[in-house]
């Protein structure tokens, strides 16, 4: 019986419904995160219900990946690359210091108005166009304090 079942899966051309649902988990978590900017327990519970998965599995998977947040963050999450290449190119450290001063926060903190969170990451595959940073889903390359300043003003609606 089991062998027959395995054989039918092997020849079926598509994963089982259960497998297909599970494979939607990463996508579902992205959608769930959009609402509040991070994954609330409620959101994860809804994902679990919709996909027919235990909540613990949803949490376990979500907590594995760094693009899912379990805590609230600013509306704009600034991630400056301080990997080796960006550091060597003499720009990353200056850039991080500059943003810290402009926003008055340390790395890992969020501005009091909830607008900006500052983080450092390693390698956004822009080593040839460093320094580089990401703000939410957008990538910005060859950054200088000047164009960071313009960017921050623009995002803050100043």
């Amino acid at each position: 019986m089991l062998a027959e079942e395995q054989k039918s899966i092997l020849h079926s051309g598509t994963p089982t419904q259960k497998q297909a649902r599970r494979s939607m988990l990463l996508t579902a978590l992205y959608i769930a995160q959009e609402q509040h900017g991070y994954l609330t327990k409620d959101a994860m519970r809804r994902v679990a219900e919709r996909l027919g998965l235990p909540l613990k599995d949803v949490y376990s998977t979500a907590s594995f990946y760094s693009l899912y947040r379990m805590e609230t963050a600013g509306r704009y999450v600034i991630q400056v690359c301080d990997g080796l290449s960006c550091h060597l190119a003499d720009g990353a450290d200056t850039l991080i210091d500059y943003i810290r001063q402009q926003l008055g926060i340390e790395v890992g903190e969020t501005t009091r108005d909830g607008l900006f969170t500052l983080q450092t990451v390693q390698c956004v595959a822009s080593c040839g166009t460093s320094p580089a940073l990401r703000i939410n889903d957008e990538l910005y390359e060859n950054m200088t304090p000047d164009n960071v300043n313009r960017l921050l003003d623009q995002l803050a609606g100043r």
Binding site: I9, L10, H11, S12, G13, T14, P15, T16, Q19, R22, S23, M24, L25, L26, T27, L29, Y30, S60, T61, F64, Y65, S66, L67, Y68, D82, G83, L84, S85, H87, L88, A89, Q122, C123, V124, A125, S126, C127, G128, T129, S130, R134, D137, E138, L139
Partner: protein, 423 residues
Amino acid sequence: MAFERILLRNVGRPNSEKIDTYLEHGGYQALRKTIHEYTPEDLIAIVRKSGLRGRGGAGFPAGLKWSFMPKDSEVTKYVCVNTDEGEPGTFKDRLLVERDPHSVIEGAIIASYAVGACRAFVYIRGEFFLGVKRWMKAIDDAYARGFLGKDILGSGFDLDMSVHRGAGAYICGEETAMLESLEGNRGEPRLKPPYPAQVGLWGQPTLVHNVETLACVPHIVLRGPEWFASIGTEESKGPKIFCVSGDVEKPGNYELPLGTTLREIIYEHAGGIKGGRKLKAVVPGGASTPMLTPEHLDVPMAFETLSKAGSMLGTGGITVIDEDACIVDAALRLSKFFAHESCGKCTPCRVGTQHLVDILQRVEDGLGREGDVDRLLGLCHGIVGRAFCPMGDAAVNPTLSSIKHFREEYEYHMQHHRCLVAS
């Protein structure tokens, strides 16, 4: 002599990502040729003959991988396009998928035809938002023109392709971790063997290839395996995109034959060391590969020669470190990356990388304790060969290789409680 641009021939054109631009410049001709002239067996023979090896880091012969896929046409088979480029110092795949996605799609369709896959999954790094959009648009356009879907170009061959966005985990570049992630799980590697060609996605035989590897395939089909094999060295054939970054005048992607020396890449193409300073060390193939020193400048960038020199070709991501940089700091930054990205599945990697960072940090801060260098070496030997997947072996390379070549700099940090370079 300037080397003809093959993989990067389209990226500089306006609207290079569009299907019409690709078609204007000979796009999808290789697919037509494939379908009209070759059987799957022919293609496997052609790719074997070309000598193409994987461009994602491991360098496995592509034709051999294709031949491992079961020939049984009743079995459901898959192809996965690994676009999870996250190796520090590497930025070639992002360029290809953002600027010339159709070259990769064409390669993936040909590979799928050769191994009899019915579906291709593109797994793309979550951070590559533009890449996701470009891939999805390119796939839609390829469907609209009949290069994907049912009965491709009247051949009777069907193939579906879809994009799956990762969510920020370096380990998902490892092929079995990628399969786990595609299935919606934590991206923890699986035990090998069985290899994905036997048991892959949802247990089905799966061919996994890096973006740059697949981008080579249409050219091999159009211009022949002999042409491809005429480029490069004895064991490393074809063109390669070298990503040069760090302390060079002109960082960027340079497409050159495999076997080009580090000296030529750094000094002729990338404009030499920034500010005319002296070279100190080179990470030749991404963070996972052991550092080399100026005495290795004439080593050809090829699988076999780099391995003889004590390093690896890896992804071809060359990070150049000049004399003003602190080597302990460089090793620390690379090690921090691995400690952060360790998936946690096995203890040597999860705990070992954290200890490496702790010790490197105190040495860098001038707080090193007596015996710390040997302690670092001991830790490295405790991780190598004992981790579940190749990441553990990779994670020790920055530390091991920097101590091997620059032990005196570590000792200076310990004795003087400060950096040799800054003083």
